[in-house]
């Protein structure tokens, strides 16, 4: 029924049908039915909140296995800057990059280097004055999707540049082809990612025809392999790392915005905070801003669900690593290469509305409101929907039935003289003043 690729899958054996995930989903995309959580594909933005919150680890982040390397004659690793924040006592990025070669990659192309090109291109575009302010970062795929489904009027504010990993993949592929003489399909450009949404973005690219990323592997899978092979490096000048402070800064929240060297910016992280900023931006409550950086994960990409470390310590480590790096090592010429921009425009995906016809929508809304008024308003989740309102909408639109609500069902039983039991949170005190405060 749906043509959406997503980065979350359900392990049916592990899912107990609890309601933790439905409550945390920022787009109300999950319902529990027959003891299992179900994702409404059109609504899912790949933010990873359900993966984080599931106590049974039943929500699986999708990524490619490391064995994907065997599919190619020549492989290039694209390490995300977030990878650098995962290790204790690391003072040299080259140790990680050399480690990637040791575990089987033929070459490395740090995403941070391409991030510096994106920063340069952003500065150029902003200086041209052609972008609608404030410009919203396009790097986080969950945020881009969120804007398409919930804030379609803000699509025009999205920075029309590809994410650094896409730029890196294009450059890496080209470099490898020149170096080896191999055709494109024999070369595997493999992203080492903190984030499963990047896999969705690579498999179903929105702003270009095809992605140059061949596979997306998880930082958490590469991490133990790297630990085993990482060795201190000789102090030589010809290290593999060619990114500076600006590029590495992209790994945590605020890095991309700070790289624009402008004062009037805002950086928000964590999906709920991102939503608050977008709501306020839509209502013109934020005043004059040039740039808004938004990351779905707390602390930025270091907070991705495929990382190992606490995001805040990872951010501190990135800060330390950056200290002795040059400001930037990668710059564009006078113009922005065409393949850094969007090939296709971002389309709105207004899935929140009831119907395309406003009269029909109003009719549904009236039915929802009158049914909602008969519900207890406890948002207990026992019906499998995240709130009484969501449940009322499900009932009116035919995705649930009235007696799926335990209170409605209890009323039915009451008429036959049964069903007086209520769980403790929902009881009314027998003796007033005797309840806990």
């Amino acid at each position: 029924m749906s043509n959406f690729v997503h980065s979350v899958a359900l392990d049916k054996d592990k899912c107990k049908g609890c309601i933790n995930c439905i409550k945390r989903c920022p787009t109300e995309a999950i319902r529990v039915r027959n003891g299992k959580a179900r994702i409404i594909s059109e609504r899912c933005i790949d933010c990873g909140e359900c993966i984080r919150v599931c106590p049974n680890h039943a929500k699986l982040a999708l990524y490619d296995p490391l064995s994907v390397l065997e599919r190619y004659e020549y492989t290039v690793a694209l390490p995300a800057p977030a990878l650098y924040g995962q290790f204790h006592n690391l003072d040299e990025i080259d140790i990680i990059l050399e480690g990637l070669l040791s575990i089987g990659f033929d070459d490395v192309f740090p995403v941070a280097s391409a991030a510096e090109l994106v920063s340069d291109a952003t500065r150029k575009l902003m200086a041209s004055g052609k972008l609608r302010r404030p410009v919203i970062s396009s790097a986080c795929p969950a945020v881009t999707r969120l804007i398409r489904v919930r804030f379609p009027e803000l699509i025009e504010n999205i920075l029309p540049l590809r994410a650094p990993v896409e730029v890196a993949a294009g450059l890496a592929k080209q470099r490898a082809m020149e170096k080896t003489g191999l055709p494109a399909d024999k070369i595997g450009v493999i992203f080492i990612s903190p984030c499963p949404a990047k896999r969705t973005a690579a498999r179903m690219p929105l702003v270009m025809e095809t992605s140059a990323i061949d596979a997306v592997v998880a930082i958490k899978e590469v991490y133990p392999k790297l630990l085993a092979v990482m060795r201190p490096q000789d102090d030589s000048d010809d290290g593999l790392n060619d990114s500076g402070r600006i590029g590495v800064g992209w790994g945590s929240s605020g890095g991309e915005a700070a790289a624009l060297l402008k004062e009037s910016y805002l950086a928000a992280d964590g999906i709920e905070n991102v939503i608050k900023v977008l709501e306020d931006l839509e209502d013109e409550k934020l005043g004059e801003l040039d740039f808004i950086e938004l990351n779905a994960c707390a602390a930025g990409c270091v907070g991705g669900v495929l990382t190992v470390e606490n995001p805040y310590i990872a951010r501190t480590r990135l800060k330390k690593l950056r200290k002795y790096l040059p400001v930037a090592c990668n710059r564009l010429g006078d113009s922005i290469p065409e393949d850094m921009g969007f090939q296709n425009e971002l389309e709105p995906m207004p899935i929140m509305q009831f119907d395309n016809d406003i009269r029909k929508s109003m009719e549904i809304m009236r039915s929802v409101s009158s049914f909602l008024a008969t519900l207890p308003g406890l948002d207990c989740g026992s019906c499998g929907a995240p709130s009484c309102r969501a449940f009322a909408e499900d009932v009116v639109t035919g995705f649930a039935t009235e007696s799926d609500c335990v209170f409605k069902y209890r009323d039915q039983l009451k008429s036959t003289g049964e069903g007086t039991y209520l769980p403790p949170p929902f009881r009314t005190p027998e003796k007033p003043g005797n309840d806990a405060t």
């Binding site: 209502d283 929140m352 406003i358 009269r359 929508s361 809304m365 409101s369």
Partner: protein
Amino acid sequence: MNDTIKLHYDVPGDDFTRAGEASSAVKKTLRKLGVPGEIIRRVAIAMYEGEINMVIHGGGGVADVTISPEAITMVLADQGPGIENLELAMREGYSTASDEVRSLGFGAGMGLPNMKKYSDVMDVFTKVGVGTTVTMTVNLS
């Protein structure tokens, strides 16, 4: 009259943390109804300004919103001090807000002018010592 949706909100006075709740709720409703984004934006901004005005000047009040397939009408009524000079109040930059309110970032004198700008029709009824009622309409077609 059967094909309208009516929404009612109480706007508490002197509570800036809750100002904007009503406009936010209206926005969500309009999105569900599939109202075009540009219209939602205008309604949300006009309504938020009105709410803030009721909090700053009116000691709170009530907001009634009527949605029909043709238009969205917002009626914001308070029983505050009323506006002494409406002509001045409609001028951009004119404000009688206290320093305390200004220190919170409000009171720039753009409230009523913005409400007029973002609505298609605006009508202000005010009487000193009795209160103020602002009616704003944003057309859907």
